[in-house]
Amino acid sequence: MRLHIRGGHLVDAKNQQDGICDVFIADGKVVGLGQAPHGFSADRLIDAQGLVVMPGIVDLCARLREPGFENKATIASETAAAAKGGVTTICCPPDTIPIVDTPAVVELITQRAQQAGKARVVTLGAMTRGLEGQQICEMLALKNAGCVGVSNALRAVKDTLVMRRALEYAASHNMTVFIFSEDPWLRRSGGAHEGPVSTRLGLSGIPEIAETIAVARDLALVEATGARAHFCHLSTEKAVRMVARAQHDGLPVTADATIYHLHLNEMDLMDFNVDCHVKPPLRSQRDQAGLVAGLADGVISAVCSDHQPHELDAKLGPFSETESGMSTIEMLLPLGLRLVHDKKLSLAQLVASLTFQPSQILGLDLGHLSLDAVADICIFDPEKPWLCKKSELLSAGKNTAFDSWEFNGQVQETILAGQSVYQAIKN
């Protein structure tokens, strides 16, 4: 299939492209930019006038729920939702059942994703066996099976010595460690940020120091071991400053924020809004502003969906009895565009944080549209208004706090390695 994307506004962070430029695609790759290569004739012409053409989104964290939680969602359902959201590469954390601590599970996920064919799916391997924080995994075997890094997902490695050895071992095999830093003792059974809202609602609070103490420990370990680390889902302004300081000191650390932490804060929990039960918790307005500022000045170099689809029952109950997590992958780009619209971020910065920068964190040659690059492309209408309705989400998880939000900007077409995997219905 040879494609000619005509007249679109190409935004490509790696090549600093930000203007009208035609894109020519053949055999799943970019073969021409601006001018068609000699003798090129397109099978299909995509009229992208008035639209933005960007590399396909690379999502650092989305749960597809398969294997183990097929009652919530499947790789097929969630990769279809991803395609609708302009996401072409998904990185899954290892907390499936069975846990991704053996090559067999990696292969299973890869196979299912290939069958579905809607998105490229890569996985993180478990850092410790069963994510139990005791015995380190066969990281090299996981790497050889295709894992792009290791992580203990949302489970803390309590034992500092195990954490140290895991980082040392990962560094020996040149693997990036993805760390979700949270002190398990300070978290206890908490479900909401410890602050005025948790006090009002009588919810057990997770203090800010649950994050900062754990980030401090893990930064010290990174410095001592020389491991390359990525801090997942920062939620506090202080943690952003700590990571900024470490980057300034030359430590090989990166960080991401979830799209919903950039848009919501503890106030959204009022009235026990169970869709806002997430991990890490939505924190104060100051923290929210600190994350946005951290993204704008580059300390936070990637924005992820942290997509967590749930079945209806998972969210039916009193707040603390519900499961945490939000279905977000279809709102990742529109919510990002809202930051651009509010002048918190330039379009080029947004695209960088959704494409090239996360793909660098994963060590993948994706997220850019250079000549010969893989033709993963997202084409969106930056102005198109639409109303988000839970019921219309393609994801099997309808658990979103963004129900009835109005957005400007909608994906029109998603192309995965030169093949169209999603097209919006024209009206």
Partner: protein, 342 residues
């Protein structure tokens, strides 16, 4: 982020628009559910107190009944054990001539949201009119109110650490009965504020009714973060906190607080925060003592204080029935639509 940037209605915007009230109040500002004091206007609280006043003599009549809720079925849905609160709700319902069904549902680890909802569906099918709910999780009454059909009224009889609005209202009733007004009073709440739904509801009720000041007195381990945002002053030293206080409300100290590093021992707690005759002498000369019960003698309060002439503790219990009658009849009174519209 400012609310106006969000075109969708956010929780924040909803809150500003009085969304909370649309769950608890009808468009005519009548009580529909009674879930929390927070967000209710002063007029509704005063209404409850005034209505309770009219019921307060029912218990002294030869026939202790009024026919207001005849033919209505009220279900006491207790997911957490409680004899006292359940009994007063039961008495209140019976004095209103309603039929009462008591259900004690244990909250085992396997009891999840689905079964809670299933329980509700079953009860709805039995054509009940009101649920009085107690649950160990904060937000349980909100959850039930949101998922119950239109005609069912929900009264919160205590949810987790969140709210116990009828307890707070009976305390307000008792305070008004004694002092006749609120504006000049200083009130101190002493003890485990962190885990107390009673304290949270009392604070909202006291600030809404406009007392002069509300103080909370406890060690830092038992004070929830940013409690000042509810309009209270925090004290860690009891004698200092009691100065010029008219109402001393003592909270029950659960034995389990001795684990989990909240407190070192009951002895040290009593030494610092237990209410003794001696400590009470630092309060206002007219000060009264209240306690939501059941009291731990020698842990948070000395027997001579609990049984002393300044204690209103037993009057609180008596008033509990009238206040619950008021809340039940008011919530049910706002119900007008015929049942067929379910």
């Amino acid at each position: 982020m400012p609310v106006h940037n969000r075109k969708g209605i956010s929780a924040k915007a909803k809150d500003c628009m009085g969304y909370r009230d649309t769950l608890q109040l009808t468009p005519e500002k009548q009580l529909r559910h009674f879930l929390t004091i927070e967000g209710l206007p002063r007029s509704v609280l005063v209404d409850i107190l005034d209505t309770a006043q009219t019921f307060s003599t029912v218990g002294e009549q030869a026939v202790k009944k009024v026919p207001l809720l005849r033919g209505k079925t009220i279900v006491n849905l207790f997911f957490e054990n409680s004899t006292r609160t359940r009994t007063t709700f039961e008495l209140a319902a019976k004095r209103l001539s309603a039929d009462v069904l008591n259900m004690n549902i244990s909250t085992s680890a396997t009891t999840k949201g689905e079964s809670l909802l299933d329980t509700l569906r079953n009860l709805e099918a039995m054509q009940c009119d009101m649920f009085v709910v107690r649950h160990s999780r904060s937000g349980a009454a909100h959850f039930i109110a949101r998922h119950a059909p239109q005609h069912i009224r929900v009264i919160n009889a205590g949810d987790g650490w969140h709210a116990h609005p009828t307890q707070a209202m009976l305390d307000m009733f008792t305070i008004r009965q004694h002092f006749g007004e609120f504006a000049s009073l200083n009130v101190a709440i002493v003890g485990d504020i962190l885990h107390s739904r009673v304290a949270r509801s009392q604070i909202h009720a006291l600030t809404t009714l406009g007392v002069n000041s509300v103080r909370v007195i406890a060690p830092k381990t038992l004070i929830p973060k940013d409690i000042e945002s509810l309009g209270v002053h925090v004290f860690h030293e009891m004698i200092q906190g009691l100065e010029d206080v008219h109402v001393v409300i003592m909270l029950r100290l659960q034995q389990e607080r001795m684990s989990g590093a909240f407190l070192p021992s009951t002895e040290e707690y009593f030494h610092c925060y237990g209410l003794t005759e001696e400590k009470l002498s630092y309060a206002h000369a007219d000060a009264v003592v209240m306690h939501p019960g059941p009291i731990n003698r020698g842990v948070e309060i000395e027997s001579s204080v609990a049984d002393g002439e300044r204690s209103l503790i037993l009057r609180q219990v008596t008033n509990g029935i009238a206040v619950r009658m008021a809340v039940m009849s008011m919530a049910m009174g706002s119900y007008q639509a015929p049942r067929e519209t379910k």
